[in-house]
Symmetry: C2
Subunit: 208 residues, 2 copies
Amino acid sequence: MAFYGNNRRGLLIVISGASGTGKGTVIKALFDKLPNLVFSVSATTRLPRVGEKDGVNYHFMSREEFEREIAADAFLEYADVYGGAYYGTLRREVDKHIAAGKDVLLEIDTQGAINVMDKAPDGVFVFLLPPSKEELRKRLTGRGTEDEQAVAKRLAAADVEFERAKRYTYLVVNDEVNNAVDKIAAIIAAEHCKASRCNDILDEVTKN
Amino acid sequence: MAFYGNNRRGLLIVISGASGTGKGTVIKALFDKLPNLVFSVSATTRLPRVGEKDGVNYHFMSREEFEREIAADAFLEYADVYGGAYYGTLRREVDKHIAAGKDVLLEIDTQGAINVMDKAPDGVFVFLLPPSKEELRKRLTGRGTEDEQAVAKRLAAADVEFERAKRYTYLVVNDEVNNAVDKIAAIIAAEHCKASRCNDILDEVTKN
């Protein structure tokens, strides 16, 4: 299936979803389906683990370096998480792929995504939903690894995420992985055809 | 391929394209691919031809009736063409299908489409483009039915259409029929996932 749109530049695609929506499985299947899709390598101040390569797993930076990049507005989003280490998405890392015609996928939480909406309003923002609250409860309980209190906490966190979901461009219900993947692939193909992204094509056709 | 989006209401899809873009072939193939897609029956003041049925081929109306509907703002678009007969798209005809969850396709010219943009801003507006001006010239010449002057006239008319194309939501290059059909199918699937169309789904998931 030849599925790519008209424009030659890549897209920035941001995917978020509450825990229990099956985001990881969907994203894995999406990469299998779309050869033009790439991950963006994050920057971090945490130390490399054994086997991790700079520029491959992460862009490893010192805290000073990272804060200099923050000051230079080099990040689409960043957060200070996991016990004091910074993690972030460099705008130039994303732009490099987009200029080469690759679609870049960012898998980030709603707080990070809302920051990206401000910095990259031409991004495509997809929020993954479970089919129902009941189904979400089942999936979280079904893991069997968490007690009732932990499940209740996750459901409350999900409500906060759902409230933020209204600001996304697209909502995709993950009823079945293949359906959700087909829908996201369709969203990517459609966004490539957006008139606002296709000025070069129109010039091509109208030139004499 | 399960390709429909989240929302339960249908979409209004408007397709236009300059002559020589292969619009007819693409639309025929699109109907073969998408069982949820329907044509809207136009209203007209011309007399029924032998075998034509009211409500099936057209909604046949008297001139007085048609003008009463114009005055009542009942049309998404209409035009007075082909030697004095009115042709138009009734809003209630489109709404009926949309409420039933069907996607409605209108194949109209750019002037009509611009009227629909005003009356139905939640419609999906797709403009079909030839791959290049040169290719368009080849296709128009290749028909062999028209002299050079007629071809030049059609090319000039196409330029007017291309200028209006900027106002459409999506541009789709018809390089190959299957590619164009896949892209339009993707656009329809993606539009069904637009957050602005999916309030009911979000309510479903967030209710306790």
